[in-house]
C-alpha cells in the first residue's frame, strides 16, 4: 500500500494500482497511453471501467466525509462495520446486481471502511496536508502526503477488517 513499486504483487496488479495512483493524484494526467499500458498488462476495458468507477466513488466519499467532519470510530465501530459490509454489503436492496453477498436488512449502507487504529492520530495531520495541498499547489503537498503515507503504515487494519481478509491486507499497511 505504501510502496507500490516494491509491493509483492504481480506486474499486472502493479500496473492497475499505478493507474489508480496516477488517477488519484491527477486524473487529468491520464491519457490513452495509460489505458494502453493497462490493457497490455492484461486488463480488459470492463475491468478498467470498474476499477476507475470504484476509485471515483471513493474519491467522492473521501471528499464527502472530510468536508462534513465525519470522524473516526472506536475500534468496535470498525469491527462492526467490517462485519456488516462483509455479510450485508452496502445497500438494502442489492439483489439486482449482487452475486454472492446477501442483502442487508437494516437500511442504507455507508461506504467501505478500512480499519485503522491510527486514524485518530493521522487525522489532523492529514487534514493539514490536504489544506496545504489546496493552498500551496501540489509539489510541497505531494512530499507531505508521501511522508504521511509512510507514517500511516500499519498492519492493524488488516486484522480488523473482515472484508479485506480475502487477500492482501498487507498492502494496506
Amino acid at each position: 500500500m505504501n510502496d507500490l513499486d516494491n509491493a509483492p504483487i504481480s506486474d499486472k496488479d502493479r500496473t492497475l494500482y499505478a493507474f489508480i495512483r496516477k488517477m488519484v493524484r491527477d486524473s487529468t494526467s491520464i491519457g490513452q497511453e495509460d489505458v494502453d499500458v493497462a490493457r497490455k498488462a492484461g486488463w480488459s476495458d470492463e475491468a478498467l471501467y470498474d476499477a476507475i468507477t470504484v476509485c471515483s466513488l471513493f474519491q467522492f466519499y473521501n471528499n464527502w466525509i472530510d468536508a462534513t467532519g465525519v470522524g473516526d470510530m472506536p475500534a468496535l465501530g470498525y469491527e462492526m462495520s467490517g462485519h456488516r459490509l462483509a455479510t450485508d454489503g452496502y445497500a438494502q436492496e442489492p439483489q439486482s446486481e449482487s452475486r454472492s453477498e446477501p442483502a442487508g436488512s437494516n437500511g442504507s449502507r455507508g461506504p467501505g471502511r478500512s480499519t485503522s487504529s491510527k486514524r485518530a492520530t493521522v487525522l489532523n495531520s492529514s487534514r493539514k496536508s490536504k489544506a496545504a495541498k489546496r493552498s500551496n499547489g501540489s509539489s510541497a503537498s505531494t512530499t507531505l502526503k508521501r511522508s504521511k503515507r509512510s507514517k500511516a503504515t500499519n498492519t492493524s487494519r488488516k486484522s480488523r477488517r473482515p472484508t479485506a481478509k480475502a487477500s492482501q491486507g498487507r498492502r494496506r499497511g
Binding site: M1, R25, V54, F58, I65, D72, Y90, Q92, G112, A152
Partner: protein
Amino acid sequence: MKPMYLSVVENHDAAEPHATMFKQMRGAGIPIPQILHLFAFKPERTQYLSLFTQGVMRGPSPLPPWQRELIAAFTSKLNQCLF
C-alpha cells in the same frame, strides 16, 4: 468521537430505515458511524448512492469484490482518508 462540522446533519431526526438502525445501535451500545448521518439526512437521494455503491463494490465484474475493496482502500489511502 468528535462532533461533525455540520451539527444539523448529525443531530437530524432520522427517518426510516435509519431511525430503527440508529435505535438498535444505541440500544446495543454501538457508536453510530457518523457517515450514516450523511446518508440519513437526505435518504430520498442517498438511497441511490447506497445502491450505486453496492453495485460498484459487489455487482458482477471481472474484478472480484476483494480487489475492488483494495482499490477503494488504496484510493482512500492516497487521499489520506482512512475510510
